[in-house]
Symmetry: C2
Subunit: 370 residues, 2 copies
């Protein structure tokens, strides 16, 4: 199969204005970029910036407003023409240059290098669409040594959750029980992740479990080919365990060291964004009680044919056999004892670091879809 098929589909979907509208009207998203850029005005002054996949050009304009001397706004789809108009409307046509093409193919005059790369490349559960590759290629091709990436890091989180909109809500729909409806709805959703809003109250895990931490300044494309985690988390309350909820956050640099790093968080306890959350629905729901260990393995791996797509595979593990983290949030006697011991003998940080390293496994894994 010709991978270019996917490439073309990918770019033509971006011509749809409504997609850009959705993104611009996603205020937590747009505002995070604006704040991240404006908080670093003293850094952006007179810098050369590249905006990869500029869309309507709003991030390029933020950079120009922050004082950038030159912005290369790279856009492969025809929306680049609209970006040119919007840039002119904002009187930045002398600062921002729209370049029509894939960032992989374009060249800059005099092989110029840029001080910073700004890009909104995140898809559902961070990696859907696989635009990250283009960002890493752009970095290696165009970013100066010690240049800055906006955002500079991203993390995918996982937590067990209830999914009332596919279960409980249908037990009483205005006085009518509709569990057959719910069953049929769920049946249509087992073979792919569902993009939906999960409320904070439906999160069951004591803690959010990081699947991976991506360092935009250093990671290579092969390092984002696959991620895998095996984990045990305690239930923070009684509830029905019906799915695994995935979300991500992105952190932007704070180069002035005056402000906190701006963080764009798409989790259930933050204002909703167009990314919502992603849910991997379990084939069977399970009743869990507070403190119960929930053990799972999640593998996310790039599709061999469509490299812009990731396959996600979830395995439910037996908590008695799975390896529990140190300390563990579950209430199994051994974990309670270890926790009590660790509280009496504090030994900071090292365990957390170890866990993060474990997340970045590169071993090949099954690429079956869920």
């Amino acid at each position: 199969m010709d991978p270019n098929i996917y490439q073309n589909e990918y770019f033509s979907s971006y011509d749809d204005l409504e997609v850009h509208r959705l993104m611009l009207e996603d205020h937590p998203r747009t505002l995070a970029y604006k704040n991240a850029i404006m908080n670093n005005k003293s850094y952006f002054k007179d810098k050369i910036v590249m905006d990869v996949g500029c869309g309507t050009g709003i991030l390029s304009i933020f950079c120009a407003q922050a004082g950038a001397k030159k912005v290369y706004a790279v856009e492969a789809s025809n929306v680049g023409n609209l970006a040119r108009e919007i840039i002119k409307e904002n009187k930045f046509e002398d600062v921002i240059e729209v370049i029509h093409g894939n960032v992989e193919d374009i060249i800059l005059p005099d092989n110029i290098k840029v001080d910073a790369i700004v890009s909104e490349w995140m898809g559902f559960y961070l990696l859907h669409e696989g635009m990250l590759d283009s960002i890493l290629i752009a970095r290696d091709k165009f970013l100066k040594v010690n240049g800055e990436m906006f955002p500079e890091s991203a993390t995918i989180y996982i937590s067990p959750c209830s999914v009332p909109s596919l279960y409980k809500n249908w037990e009483d729909c205005h006085g009518v029980t509709m569990t057959s409806m719910a069953k049929q709805l769920r049946a249509s959703k087992y073979n792919k992740p569902e993009i939906m809003i999960i409320k904070e109250e439906d999160i069951l895990g004591f803690e959010e479990v990081p699947l991976c931490w991506i360092n935009l300044k250093e990671d290579t494309i092969s390092e984002v080919d696959s991620f895998s985690i095996e984990h045990v988390v305690g239930a923070k309350k009684d509830g029905m365990y019906q799915g695994l909820c995935l979300w991500f956050d992105c952190v932007f640099p704070d180069l002035t060291k005056k402000n906190e790093n701006v963080r764009l968080d798409t989790g259930p306890d933050s204002p909703p964004t167009h990314w919502k959350q992603t849910v991997i629905l379990l084939p069977e729901e399970q009743l869990v009680e507070v403190g119960d260990p929930i053990a799972f393995q999640l593998d996310m791996t790039r599709d061999a044919i469509n490299r812009r797509r990731y396959n996600i595979q979830v395995s439910l593990l037996d908590p008695d056999e799975a390896e529990h983290p140190l300390p563990c949030t579950c209430d199994l006697t051994k974990c309670l004892l270890i926790k009590a011991y660790m509280q009496q003998h504090p030994e900071p940080a090292s365990k957390t670091e170890q866990m993060e390293t474990n997340c970045l496994q590169e071993d090949p894994i099954d690429d079956d879809d869920v």
Copy 2:
């Protein structure tokens, strides 16, 4: 062109469970039916009811809960199988009989007639999808003389409005002017009505203008072929006149005479429903000041080929030449004088009735889409 093409498309789209989910989760909609039926419990007791286009069967179940002796739940799509399961789940399989077929084709045993027809047939701007025809056919085929229709009437309303989401909101998008974006967005929307939420504050007309009042108990199919109105309405405030907003309401019978009639209102001043509002965007926006006359003609007429589709044509009229209603809400001197005179010499009701009659024109009109 074969009209069956549209017929098949029409029914297959209903197989999509997400559509039924959307409708069930539309609480103002579902609750209006529930209240309309439950408020008339004494009427429904031991009655025979038909639910036309029963979908998941919830309205049939409401009728059974209200005491109906028999409900024929007619559904042309495969969702009827799900309805059977849901009915069983609610233990009404002895009361409710799902009949798979078009209401136009089915026959009831012993040519039985029903006491009431319940149906949720309304589409965007009431008539989109054209399911009303099937309801009127079912009425003529199956309803007893003096039987009841739920709902029993429906009205389409029009008002001039502002559309900030396609104009003003783009003048300052987080500090960036994006009027080129807005222009391109609008360009994609001139050739068909746009389904969107209009806020009450964006309604410009002093009053909502009824395009048509449909009497479900009496009107014939040819009476709903086309509607036309020529009207002048005063602006209730200064604002940008950018579109005509259409919405509808439905009124249910109050057979106990104890309660008020339940009314399902999809207007901008009611809680939003999945029908939202429908906007016909004007080619050019106009500044209006409070009291300014806004004159327009709106024709809604059934498509000659796809009878489930209506074409809408709007003409902006010169307020000096258009005929103003009596009394008129605009501030032109003649209308202010007439209003003052009428307030001094009250003569109730007759003018309003005349206007409603005018709305039901049956003259053939151009069927160009807007």
